[in-house]
Symmetry: D2
């Protein structure tokens, strides 16, 4: 279950403190110019140490491609890649080897496998998302040829929330602040909250919103391959994700049908809808309108304060995490949300191509 996708498929590997994090991308169309600067820039977006809001841990993550490229272009064969782990402080985890960190995956991995790599969370570390960023960046390169764009942004930190719809923000301003929030005033409040929480060794969660533009009509499959189900699945595989909604989402229940229905009209020869409560997907298939959704993230489980817990023998004990950790995962999760969205949309576009005569 370390493979994602049907046609455009990422198989990922790697642990936080092992030799590296990498993957194999299978099913990437041939002839795509591999813009390595772009890919590296995408990867840099997720790396720690970008601002004082994130962990001071330095991870100079550089991707090395291992196959599937010839004279700068994809060849249609699998693209292997690796980001070597450097600057790992495995000793930070010595005291956790036999102890289960609360709300981490230590206990569940140990129970499932009877063994686990405790250094930095091993496979359950958020470093696993590196491979998603790389594959997502390549998916974006393919999608950009089809004029499809994907933009995610932080829409909530703690109780500070963007109240307006994405159409009312200039999403191009997302990268102007360290929180990755297109509303500068809210961003400042969010940043302040994160610093406050951090000062206490604590952590905070929130939500990320994402908008996908120019997906053609007809992408998505009936029944179990609904496009929003694929997007939801993709988002919920991101570490710390707790929920997913698209279109009006959980608020949809508040509307009556007559308010919620999106009325079709003829927009200069193109069928369009006057509203977009549906979030660009109807019956599981894209209708040509903007696709938008929101992902909930919990606060980071690692806090720099004492917590009671148990060790591998079941004995109760007390744990105090050391190390360099994020107080809020949101800003660094923005590129991951985009990467997963890009892979999903591309995969379903390719899948749709397979269904034609």
């Amino acid at each position: 279950m370390n493979t994602f996708g049907n046609i455009f498929r990422l198989t990922s590997f790697g642990e936080s403190h092992g030799p590296g994090i990498g993957g194999v991308i299978d099913g990437c169309p041939a002839g795509i110019v591999l813009d390595t600067d772009f890919i590296q820039a995408e990867l840099n977006c997720r790396k720690p140490g970008q601002s004082k809001l994130t962990t001071p841990r330095k991870e100079d993550d550089e991707v090395q491609f291992l196959s599937g490229i010839y004279e700068g272009k994809t060849t249609g064969t699998p693209i292997g890649f690796i980001v070597w782990n450097k600057n790992q402080h495995s000793s930070d985890y010595d005291n956790m080897k036999n102890v289960f960190r609360p709300s981490h995956a230590d206990y569940t991995y140990q129970s499932k496998y009877g063994i686990r790599d405790p250094r930095g969370g091993g496979r359950s570390s958020a470093r696993e998302t590196i491979s998603r960023c790389v594959a997502g960046a390549i998916a974006k390169l393919v999608l950009s040829q089809k004029n499809i764009s994907i933009q995610a942004y932080t829409s909530q930190v703690g109780s500070i929330k963007l109240e307006k719809n994405y159409t009312q923000y200039d999403l191009a301003r997302t990268e102007e602040n360290a929180v990755r929030c297109p509303d500068a005033a809210k961003a400042e409040k969010m940043a302040k909250l994160i610093m406050e929480v951090k000062a206490q060794g604590d952590t905070i969660g929130g939500s990320i919103s994402c908008v996908i533009k120019n997906v053609p009509v007809g992408i998505g499959e009936p029944a179990f391959g609904k496009l929003h189900a694929a997007l939801g699945h993709a988002m919920l595989t991101i570490n710390a994700a707790k929920g997913f909604e698209y279109g009006d989402g959980f608020d949809a229940g508040l509307y009556w049908g007559s308010e919620h229905n999106d009325i079709f009209y003829n927009n200069n020869g193109q069928i369009a809808t006057r509203t977009n409560h549906s979030g660009g997907i109807q019956g599981g298939i894209s209708n040509g309108e903007d696709i938008y959704f929101r992902v909930a993230f919990k606060s980071v489980a690692t806090i720099l304060m004492e917590q009671p817990t148990v060790d591998v023998t079941g004995k109760e004990t007390v744990l105090c995490a050391r190390g360099r950790h994020d107080a809020c995962v949101l800003p660094r999760a923005v590129p991951i949300v985009e990467a997963m969205a890009a892979m999903t949309i591309l995969d379903y576009i390719l899948l749709n191509q397979a269904k034609q005569v």
Copy 2:
């Protein structure tokens, strides 16, 4: 994409007004006593006409098994089944043949395939969920041997919402009212709202919550096979679903890490957590606590009032639906949520078995 699951797999077929709705269940363990009364009872839970809250459409859905059973037991070979369509009023849909109903799948199916069965929504009809109920009922039979129980209930209709956690209700009382809500007082209010909405030819949405008990520790797969991602995917494939959250879900962002973390302790030799913000899943793997989640549903798209729309040529027109429709899908969606949960949990239990030496 009409197949769901990895090991326990349902492949479904059928349209609303075609000969029938059915499916093939592959990977069901052998030797399970097929309690057909139980399966039929599960199916009856989703059928229309159970109360005045739901559509007066009568669908005497009876399942006929076509294979995979010998002397009342599953044989390990594929279980084919069909529920024959009866009592279809295809003429109700004559005026919709060339018109796209707002917020339905008519336009997207037509665009994707260049052809569609317009009678009763064809494949996109909620009758498709019949096959899920049958497969879910069989999954429940297998899970009951492992003492695993699944209980869903209506937790919100419009703005009427259960405020308390599932632990504070007697879920056994869910079936005591037509809304399938364990809080009798709230249920009454919800029913009143539905009748009000219905009187106006309108519709309303809400949310369904679900609790799964006694899932052993260790179910779920790392990375892209996280148990909650599988559950989220499963739920989002249900017609009209708009969102999914587990554990604290979208509220998780409001908690600081020190509040949200679930502290481990030794409960008479068994490791347990003092709280369950995680919703029974940590790092994508079950931790032995109750699994709970919530699914958002929009209002039914078919309303009995005039709506502007376009026809297949793009010409603007006006549509007024006829026929017998639900004003609120929630009560009838409760068994679907349970069915999808049952299939997912069983599938992942079987998958976990495959990973042992």
Copy 3:
């Protein structure tokens, strides 16, 4: 594992003496005119009782479509179908309920599942191939739009073997005799042998050859998706198949490289090869030449003579089969080979479409 294919997928169900044999075809392109006469004719090719060479068992197999078709065309949604079992003589199998027939699947199914349907071999019966014929016929309808044709024929019965290459026969004459062999003289000898074997209550095997014309260049996938590996897998799933070879097959080892290599030349602007030892596939991908292969079949396991065996408790006993059985499966397996070839080629053509930008 009752699903075949990646994009064009058949999920099959059904036992020999259960209600029926059927399946679900998912991923069939939309808009295909469903020529039911053609499909029924294909099905008739495999049915017993066509000549004195085959079993006198009468199986009036008529396919009933259950979904996926609207106004005579495929809609892109799953095509459910069933062929109801009739004329079953289950009592013929009463004496086999607790006995393992030699070289049948009785013992292995019983061991694997702890239960089995003993009537007519249950799921392991050759009646299971009915669903392949139906799906294969539909695949042929799609392929015929691309001018791709598939022709199989009996090339060996016992030691009577066609010595010449397929190019030296008029394959259109295959259906002129009951053996389905394009060489009339050899066909007569084969028929005589089959009657001889049959007279003794015994059975005989042989091989079937198959030629696929007009597959475009580029179909097949690197590494584990090689086209010939997919074809081989497909053929080896047919009951009684014991081997598969393509191009020069097992004889390839006899040639030196300088003899075996297929020299490329320019055939009026189209690259072609002067010989076709490769069998139309190079590096796992079609090269535009004819694809041809051969499948070995063992003699039917059911013989009408006494055989020692054991019962389910392991006690040694003697079995004498009753019932109406084929003395030679070859003639009736010809349409199955074509059906599996059609499904495989179509699946890989659709898969190839998914890999383009």
Copy 4:
């Protein structure tokens, strides 16, 4: 399609002259002691330069593990690995950049993808099998815990063929000669033939046989997951494979049913068969007897003599390969056959576990 397997899955990547050949193994059970000496020894078996029979090309293939291992044991998480390419003479291929080598994959890859890596055959190179050796070695480590052994050997080179059944050879002697043939006299003749062919710049093919012992009863799946179909598929994905047969294979057609049927008897409380024409698999499921099969390989396509061909523009030209090539691929393919068999058997054993309650 660069992923093999259902539960124990290898995803492979890499080209002949790119940075390296590697893969990701997903689904390997946890807690397996990773005997790296054994794995390296398996890898050494396939490498060139082992004897004068094989190419003098030196490939010091050393595997580097990238993930999935902790303190010498598998952790259940994906095992990434790479073998770095060294000693590549890419300039040997300069003259082939724009020319299609006869009976290679140059033309088909170029046609499929519109681009290809021409150095050493790129992805279609036999170096791709390195990743199979590594994964196969790990599968063998797991299987050895279940006492399952796999032994392949060269059974034919050109027209020199082992006439006797595997039971009549001491397979332990396979590694005693460079041909990997358990019959020393035949091995000498085979070696002589290979040297003769090589002296002329030509190549020769043959076949490899394989025996798998101690597979428990019940492994394999009905219909499309028959164990021999999975083995056949696995073998046919190996470069230069042209055919697969198991049990009596293509000779099965010569036997009458009464000769071919394997009679069951009670062998001290264990059901067994007196003969094993079936090759250890009945109805697609293992019956506890030895599994054996044979794989046909064509002669290597690269010959050191002039051959007419065409270039990428379709212009006719003449090619003379340079470089260091095998005159016979058989000896080095023996470990690949074993590796694919090991992966397949382990995968199906794990799959079978998933079907139990």
